[in-house]
Amino acid sequence: MTVRRWPYAIERLARHHDREAFSCGTPDLDRYFRELVGQEERKRVTVAYVAVVSGSATVAGFYTLAARTIPYPDLPAELKRRLPRYEVIPATLIGRLAVDTNHQGRGLGGFLLVDALKRSLAESERVGSWAVVVDAKDDTGSSFYRKFGFIPFPDKPLRLFLPMQTIAKLPN
């Protein structure tokens, strides 16, 4: 049995990462990663993490996290008690998640997703977040999240979520 070594490591996006070469097959996502993610990072609205091929500047995939709030004027009492400001529910958004075409088919997407979830969970202990929300680009994206148990919003099927407490039950 041959076990190929897993070549990827997750890092916070930094200057030396080769963003130009990244291509996941979706022009929008590529453009976002090449041109916009840096700006968003600087403005502190998003934090990006990349999967790099260990020891190189090659980016094999990335995801971004951002804080969001969900207005909820008529929250059930049970939840209200747990919230300091009970008109909104805090959540973590996985804004984008993509894998470079050269690195697809190795389970890197699932790896990135779990990484994002675990990171959100760890963060939620400090800043508070009740769920992870994703905005899928299209049906393919949405079915990817669905496979991992994400629940689609009925009126907005491309937006899905997973309660933080579900994530907390994952083996760590």
Binding site: W6, T69, I70, L79, D155, K169
Partner: protein, 274 residues
Amino acid sequence: MSKDQKIIKVKVGLLELAKQLGNVSQACKVMGYSRDSFYRFNADSGHEQALDELALSHREAREVTDDELGGRNVRRLGTECRFEGTIGVRPLGIDGVRRLLHSRELFVRHTGELADARKVRGSRRAGPPGRGDARRARQEGSLRSRPPPGGQPEELRRKRVGHRTLTRTVIFRTEGGGEVTMTRSSPREERFDVRTTREQKKLLKRAADLQGRSLTDFVLTSAQEVARRTIAEHTILELSERDRKVFVASLLSPPAPNARLVRAAERHKRLTTE
């Protein structure tokens, strides 16, 4: 007497007079101040009292639609109590007033951020009707579909607002015809220049004219509207009623992670601890 002392004297005088007369409105009239100012001066002695003054009573929920408010500016209000009068909001802030109303269970719904609104101002100019009068009349007409009790709000509205002041107005409408107007104004200190083509300016000017507003006002409020929406959309996830039901149901009884996710998590663990 220093300038500050003079100001203080006036303030104290007003407060004293109000105490003596036992009537804030009258004291204000005598001293030539709005009730707005009174409650500002009175900031230290608690605004609970100010609210008590409003003769808050009976409540009944009712939403005021944009249309009723002249279809613009004052975006949304939720309201549900019957009371009369005007709250000078400055010292407490709109949120403060909201909290107070809330604590008295008089205020149930508030649908979101307060919209900026131009105060209905300088009502009834003397002289022949000019541009904007129709709009103003319409706006006032709708605000005034029922006569306000007391006449105090009237006074507040008539107060002229300087060009350099942006006034934020929120009107809480009530069942019995009362309204509470909350205003907050801030000085316009910043400026920026804009270059436009002749066509762009013409277009904007024309639109502004149609609404009887100044070009500046039109451009600013329109841009502000879009800016606010953009920002809100960026950090707020709006969900439909149905969406929220599903969401909260899952939060209340979170499902166990599915097999695939568990496998992925185990793999992630293996691969990262290697």
